[in-house]
Symmetry: C2
Subunit: 467 residues, 2 copies
Amino acid sequence: MKPSIPKGTRDFGQEEMAARNYIFDTIRSVYRTYGYVQIETPAMENLSTLLGKYGDEGDKLLFRILNSGDAFSGVDFEECRNEDGSLNSNKVSMKVCEKGLRYDLTVPFARYVVQHQNEIAFPFRRFQIQPVWRADRPQKGRYREFYQCDADVIGSKSQLNELELVQIVDRVFTRFGINVAIKINNRKVLTGLAEIAGFPDKVTDITVAIDKLDKIGLEAVEAEMKERGLTDQAVAVIEPVLLLEGTTAEKIATMRGLMQGKSASGIVSETGLLGLDELDELFGFIEAAGVGQKVEMDLSLARGLNYYTGAIFEVKALDYAIGSICGGGRYDNLTGIFGLPGMSGVGISFGADRIYDVLKGLDKFPKDIAGSATVLFANMDAEALSYIIPLVKSLREAGVACEIYPDKSKLKKQFDYADRKGIPFVSINGGDEAVSGIVNLKNLSSGEQKTFARDDLEGMKAFFAAR
Amino acid sequence: MKPSIPKGTRDFGQEEMAARNYIFDTIRSVYRTYGYVQIETPAMENLSTLLGKYGDEGDKLLFRILNSGDAFSGVDFEECRNEDGSLNSNKVSMKVCEKGLRYDLTVPFARYVVQHQNEIAFPFRRFQIQPVWRADRPQKGRYREFYQCDADVIGSKSQLNELELVQIVDRVFTRFGINVAIKINNRKVLTGLAEIAGFPDKVTDITVAIDKLDKIGLEAVEAEMKERGLTDQAVAVIEPVLLLEGTTAEKIATMRGLMQGKSASGIVSETGLLGLDELDELFGFIEAAGVGQKVEMDLSLARGLNYYTGAIFEVKALDYAIGSICGGGRYDNLTGIFGLPGMSGVGISFGADRIYDVLKGLDKFPKDIAGSATVLFANMDAEALSYIIPLVKSLREAGVACEIYPDKSKLKKQFDYADRKGIPFVSINGGDEAVSGIVNLKNLSSGEQKTFARDDLEGMKAFFAAR
């Protein structure tokens, strides 16, 4: 009989909210210093906006909202049958659902840009921190409602945008105290590699194989490429990429030679060269800017292969085993699906749930974010109450979070309450204190007690701050 | 072909977001100083949690979410027909929808308290700022998705809680610079009034009539009460209430006499007396605390009559014609519907959309909340860029929101961009500035220009702050 919430969803109580607000506030404040402005879009989008944007699998994972009112009257179920006569749920749902819950923040952003294109000053830098919903099978770390924290800039092809996103990632994780590796690749280089290997349609196969180099070694990677249909000659073209060594500049120089026709195939890839130019410029910017976290070119990185067209980013925590905690890339035609072609953009997304796990696992959450009040004023009697009500009002107006225990319960009960809520100070004042115009404060963890004149707000604040 | 969003929903761009964040941040920070802690609940609740909690009309306004997967296969439509054989949409929806979007924050809060009762330290003060969804017919000022900003305390019957909610309202609107009247009534007094009139089942009729006193006058109110089925004798009992004069204490004293049997009917109302005790205590607290905004007892106030059991609050703007902008009250058995009886609570809810309209209408939004960057660095050439990238990085780390225009466009285009986005300062630096190690800053609205040494971050910040 105890009430519950839908599977894959979560309630967030005081401590989790404080921790999550710390994560969101940090990301938000860094986005702001880079001139990104916040927008919000509705939870519900028209299904026509969402369908077909995430592949067949994504369409199945959309939460659809039943039309309000008399949704089923007049529906012709005969039009909604499979060939064997059974009811086709998808066809029925198209007749009774016009809206769905947003699946990510990228498609709503593209829709927003097209819908508001005349009000927007391009290049448009926006960030958005809102929940999204997916009807995935719930499992550890995978939820049906979760927040995304996206920043995208649209309407500029400059690699300066890529640099600034790398700087944002650097700054955010440095503020979190998390050591990360920021891995960078470029989709055009992967395309070029497939081209010079003579298998332009096998970008995914080649990338998936290369990605295993660290785990399975050179020979196994080459064997896998052959299994995936590459010829010996194609593998010979790719081998020098697997053996790349040196600085990023040296690696780019070697790759440039291969793309210029110096590989075993002799094929030139203009796309690959363009990708190398982009990487070269970006790493030049990164060197000029001085990025504190580890940044590395990783030619096996293949995140969002069907989606990105230029830079690809992925961030991993160095001291905690968990998947990617941030990622993104450049896409050349995000708004084309809504009728506005030729807008290039680049964006990143922080994974708040995983960052929460890393901060918790590494014990990196600041100690002072608990979200509870700073001091509990005990409730003694009517006389004391009329003494502390104006005092507490002044403290609150000075920014101190105070609670007055609302009921005249036993002091032990009031203390237990402070303890359970993590309120670090208590104040017990009765008639004597009222007459003398003083205030007693006690630090619950150290046991230290101090008495202040009623008007000495600054003294009290200093006592609170020194805990 | 231009994409759109579902009717009754909204996109929030840069300026609206900045204004809304100002509203939410202000309310949140005041809630915090009173020891209220933030929680969040899922957008989707089980329909069993939501249905039957908002009346028949509310059930119809719930957005229902189609079960994911093969929702319609196996549904026996024959079980879902009306008597005339037509399909009953509600019955079908009960078979294909298990979840709905939250309709308010109160029922999810009650569900939360019951579900997490063993983790919660009572009295539990929580606030919650999240969107809710209602399938209402959209019209001016009424949306299908809107934010609620609720604070409730549950597990304490003390009128101190009512005081603190009044103080929160006082503080929030004072910080907004909005003059308001905070109207207070008590449901038990209304019950008592109906009891001493001899019509205990006519609380609503009596209250609705009294509410019109200011508009239509004494005689018309008395006529309306008779139309609504009250006898001449009952009206004679109520007349002294309509003629109440004096201070709040004097009014309470007069009312107490009536409830004690000194009315024309001679009936005593224990419930009414209890309500007067509560009002008396609350107004005593309010006097001790010193509330800056106007606070008045209003015996005609009848907000949420079927819901509240004690104090009732309503807040109106004094200088702007719009409905109630905040309201609330005490309920004695909110969690009883989920199997946890005997928990008394009291809460308030700020109407963010109306507060937005009032702040906009009275031009009370602060000027510095725009949300755009403070300064745009023009993009001149590669040399200048490598000069400003580290400089801008330092400014950002010092908390200054900066943009570098990402493309080497004409300066006019870059200036227009700053203008359209409301960026107040621009900085143009080329090779000469790089060689001299200086930074030019220009205030776009005053035209004032100043030059700083590259490392003089404090000087630049002072120039930005002085605009």
